[in-house]
Symmetry: C2
Subunit: 150 residues, 2 copies
Amino acid sequence: MAELDSPALDSPAEAGLVAAWRELLARHAAAACMLDRELGDKYGLGMSEFEVLERLVEGCEVDGRPALRVAELAPTVHLSQSALSRLMARLEKGGLVTRAMCESDRRGVMLALTEAGRERYEQARPLHREVLRLTLGGVSGPACGESDAD
Amino acid sequence: MAELDSPALDSPAEAGLVAAWRELLARHAAAACMLDRELGDKYGLGMSEFEVLERLVEGCEVDGRPALRVAELAPTVHLSQSALSRLMARLEKGGLVTRAMCESDRRGVMLALTEAGRERYEQARPLHREVLRLTLGGVSGPACGESDAD
DNA sequence: GGACAGTACATGCGCATGCATTCAATGCAA
DNA sequence: TTGCATTGAATGCATGCGCATGTACTGTCC
C-alpha cells in the first residue's frame, strides 16, 4: 500500500524477476547473435530461417508431400504472419521450400521442403547444435531436472 | 546424400539443448513482445529504451552528475554500438537523457538521465515489472516437465 | 443466386538493428 | 614535433520485423 514514494526499489520478488529477465536476455542475445552470424556466414540462413526449416522437417515429408500452412507455422516460430510470409518468400527464392496453393482451401498455402531445403537443414544442424552448446550449454540456471540423459 | 547416416535425429543431449532453446525463445518472444507493446503504447518506450533508462538510473545520478559512456552501456543491453548510439539519440530527442562530451576523453560521450527521464522510468517501471510477472512469473527454470509437444 | 462478415496470405510502409565506414580524439614512437 | 595505429562514437546502407492494409477465397444468411 505504501507505494507513493519509494519508487527507487523493487521488492525482493520483483528483483528476482528482473534478474531472471536479464539472464534470459543475455542468453537469448548470445545465442541468437551467434546463430545468426554462424548460420548466415556458412549456410546463408538466419536464425528464424533455420527454425522454420526445422519445423518443416519435423512436420512434413519432402517436396510435395503433406506440408504445413503458414498460419500453423507462424506461432511456433514466434513470428508475425507477415514476417513469416516474407521469410517463406526468401526460402522459396533460395529453392529451399515450395509454396503451393492448398486444394481444399485456396486461400491457404501449403509449405513443403524441397530436397535442397532438407539438405541445407541437415548441413546446418550440427553447427546450430554446437552454437547452442556453446551459448546455453551446461549452465541452464536454476535447472530443475535433467531429463535429457535417458 | 545426407540421410544415410542418422542425421535426422539429435542425441539426447542435443534434444535437451534444443528444448531449452525453444523454451528460451518462447519466453523471450512473449516477454519482449508484450513489453514493447505495453511500454510503447503507454509510455512511448521500447523494451531497449527502458533497459537503457534502467541502467542509467542504476548507474548515475540525475542530470549532470556522473554518468555512463556509450561503450560501457552497450554490452549490458545487448545492443551494438551503432544501435545504442541511435537509441540515445531518440531518448535525447525525447528529453529523457543528455549527451555531454566527456571532459577527460573528448571522444567519449557521457550519458545522463534528465529529470524527465527518471520520471518516465519510474512511471513505466510498475508496468514493466507486471509484464515480467505475467510472462516469466513463477517459472524461472528451463523445462521442469512443462513442455509442449507440437 | 447475391451481399456480407470472416479467414489466409501478400504487400506497403515505417522503424530498429547490425555491419561497414567515417570522423574525431588519443597514445605511442621516431 | 610529425606520423601512424587505435579507440569512441556517429552515419550510410541494407535487412528483417510488425502493423495496417489489400486481395482472394470461404461460409452464412437473406
